[in-house]
């Protein structure tokens, strides 16, 4: 990856070149921002693997009209300001489109900056609702928005006749989106929210909150947090002895293989919303899973890797359809796009206040015997859910 970054640096003196100045022969350079370093590096690693598999696949199939593609990957170091600098470097490098990544707090800033610069950006993982709602003509998102994370969990709660739910969520953009959406679904499904506690990043002692929740004895607990907090939360939940029928994680930290590894027995039977599982029945899912695993050196891929892969495939398809690396033409091509990837069908639509949003449902999985197994919806051949009580 280092090498790619150097290449970008080498291009920086060419600042004055407009977008269309990408030569019409040679490789096509597509921009991508992810967290190679910093606190989101774990997710970044997954995405880099996805990018690698995606680029290899496009190039193996002959590239775009015979021209190979290459990603200019910029590291945002898990930091908003560095993310904006990364976006600026890609704008100046004249890329036709930028694949935009993970943490909503960062991506929102990057996406808005790119939209102001009239650079189409394709968001692959970040799910804060407010990124595509209201959104912009230049912002496209192929992954599910935060609302869907809450929907799949609450569908399970509803199907199992849960009456009361407690929420613990961080104050970041993504966590807030999921928790707010959860409030809406609770109203819709007639489920009482007995507790809705938000915490600031850096809090490490959840015991008082968990005690509070324990006293209310809800049927379900929805936790929305990043990697490190999810492990601390589950450890302390076991320690405090709070026992709902189900612990549910709103993706992010809970969907990572490391969650199982680090939380050990504390993580058993936690359910989590996830964007993609290898059990989905789209063409190429199995092959993608194998390729990602190889790219990760044998580690199990998370959905972030599949999304990054899909980002490359969709970006390449849009440039092919546009027949040009002109940003406006690429934007128009994205608008008209309708395709199926191993991540799922991709089509950018305007609905429910969302703009250029791919309407895609989520799946749910549960930690059973130290591994994730799919439990929802019917299309993934679900295993029976194990309840805490």
């Amino acid at each position: 990856m280092r090498k790619v970054t150097f290449l970008t640096l080498a291009l920086t003196p060419l600042l004055a070149l407009p977008a269309s100045a990408q030569s019409s022969t040679g490789t096509i350079k597509i921009g991508a921002i992810t967290s190679v370093t910093g606190r989101f590096a774990e997710f970044g690693k997954m995405q880099l693997a996805g990018f690698k598999v995606g680029v290899a696949e496009v190039n193996r199939k002959g590239g775009i009209n015979g021209r190979k593609i290459e990603l200019l990957i910029e590291d945002n170091a898990s930091d908003v300001n560095k993310g904006l600098a990364a976006a600026e470097r890609l704008v100046n490098a004249g890329v036709p489109l930028v694949i935009n990544e993970y943490s909503s707090s960062l991506v929102k800033a990057q996406a808005q900056y790119l939209a102001r610069q009239k650079v189409p950006n394709l968001i692959v993982t970040s799910s804060g609702d407010d990124i595509t709602k209201p959104g912009s003509d230049y912002i496209f998102r192929l992954n599910q928005p935060a609302t869907e994370y809450a929907r799949v969990i609450f569908n399970i709660f509803r199907d199992n006749k849960f009456k009361s739910v407690a929420i613990i969520a961080g104050t970041g953009a993504f966590e807030k989106s999921v928790a707010d959406a959860a409030q809406d679904f609770a109203k819709l499904y007639n489920i009482t929210i007995v507790e809705d506690q938000r915490y600031d990043k850096g809090l490490t002692d959840f015991r008082p909150v968990l005690n509070r929740i324990k006293a209310k004895n809800p049927d379900g607990i929805l936790m929305v947090s990043y990697a490190e907090d999810s492990v601390a939360l589950m450890r302390q939940a076991r320690e405090v002895g709070v026992k709902p029928r189900l612990f549910a994680g709103g993706a992010a930290g809970f969907a990572l293989p490391d969650f199982i590894k680090d939380s050990g027995s504390a993580g058993e039977s936690v359910i989590t919303a996830t964007a993609w599982v290898p059990q989905l029945r789209y063409a190429g899912v199995q092959k993608l899973n194998v390729d990602l695993k190889t790219a990760l050196g044998g580690q199990e891929p998370s959905y972030h890797a599949a999304q990054a892969y899909a980002g490359v495939i969709v970006a390449a398809e849009a440039i092919r359809k546009a027949g040009s690396t002109d940003r406006e033409k690429v934007k128009a091509a994205l608008n008209a796009l309708n395709m199926t990837t191993a991540f799922g069908p991709v089509q950018f639509k305007d609905y429910d206040g969302f703009r250029n949003q791919n309407p895609l449902a989520m799946v749910a999985q549960q930690v059973q015997g130290g591994a994730f197994v799919p439990i929802y919806p019917k299309s993934v051949v679900p295993r029976p859910i194990k309840f805490e009580r």
Binding site: G38, R39, A77, T171, Q197, R207, P208
Partner: protein
């Protein structure tokens, strides 16, 4: 109050006290250093982070139990503190206050960035089988690692008191704290004593780091948070007042826990800071400051 809410109250109280015990351990190190040298150690939290990362590294590389790594971390912390005082802070001469403050601030930056370069920025934790084990006592669930942390604090603080009040070295430390020049004239090697005290302070922070490791995750800048907490603790108890630091730690732990339980978790850090401001406004010498004796 029905019995469930009574249990919940005691549960929260006990957890607050145990967490507070850790705050006390961190605060004691800071207060000890301030008491003897009038230096506010802004790198205190970063020394705690060093303790956490040594524990992490030993666990990942050799699968050494976090509590066993105390045998390595405590002496290493002491040596580090000793050397820093001897070769960095002592060289600043008599420019007390801003000089030493900036020096410790700088040291903290060096420590956190070294950790960043060595271990990376991603949060890391260790998974030990007893991480979530608890036992019940009168309906209250008590976490074993948290209890060990509380007991560890107790041992460390009792040990420190024995050292200060039962040994010749302790006498020399107290003399240096009361009047460095007078102590020097009586033949106490104050430079040596100051280095020992800084070593002890750093060792305390590092021990707290070890005790936290089975409970929490760590990342290179984890220290900032604890420097603030240590500062609140010492101000609550009175700067340089060791029993005050212990009490301040317990008070902070309980305030945070009860506040998060009864009011809302959303303002958790605010409770400690509000207490901090109130103490500064109403009793600047600290809840357990020296004027208590005069009254």
């Amino acid at each position: 109050m029905d019995s469930a809410s009574v249990t919940a109250f005691f549960q929260t109280l006990v957890q607050g006290l145990l967490t507070g015990g850790l705050y006390a351990l961190i605060g004691t190190g800071l207060s000890l250093i301030f008491g003897v040298m009038k230096v506010i150690n802004f790198a205190h939290g970063d020394f705690l982070a060093i303790g956490m990362f040594i524990t992490l590294a030993l666990f990942k590389a050799f699968n050494i139990d976090p509590y066993l790594s105390l045998l390595v971390v405590a002496p290493a912390g002491f040596a580090l503190g000793f050397l820093i005082q001897r070769f960095v802070l002592a060289r600043l001469g008599d420019r007390l206050g801003e000089g030493s403050m900036l020096a410790t601030l700088g040291l903290g930056l060096i420590v956190s960035n070294t950790l960043l370069l060595t271990f990376g920025a991603q949060p890391q934790s260790i998974n030990v089988p007893y991480a979530t084990t608890t036992f019940q006592f009168a309906g209250v669930q008590i976490s074993i690692p948290l209890l060990v942390a509380g007991l560890g604090t107790l041992v460390a603080i009792v040990g420190l008191n024995l050292l200060l009040y039962r040994t010749e070295l302790g006498r020399a430390i107290r003399a240096t704290a009361q009047n460095p020049l007078g102590a020097e004239l009586q033949g106490v090697k104050t430079t040596q004593i100051q280095a020992i005290v800084f070593g002890l302070g750093v060792a305390f922070a590092a021990i707290a780091g070890v005790l936290l490791m089975p409970l929490l995750y760590t990342f290179p800048t984890v220290g900032e948070n604890y420097t603030t907490k240590a500062f609140i603790v010492t101000v609550l108890g009175g700067l340089g007042n060791l029993p005050g630091a212990v009490a301040g730690g317990l008070v902070l732990g309980v305030i945070e826990s009860l506040g998060a339980f009864y009011i809302s978790n959303n303002y958790r850090d605010a409770y400690g800071l509000i207490a901090f401001l109130l103490v500064l406004l109403l009793r600047p010498e600290g809840l357990f400051g020296k004027t208590v004796k005069r009254v």
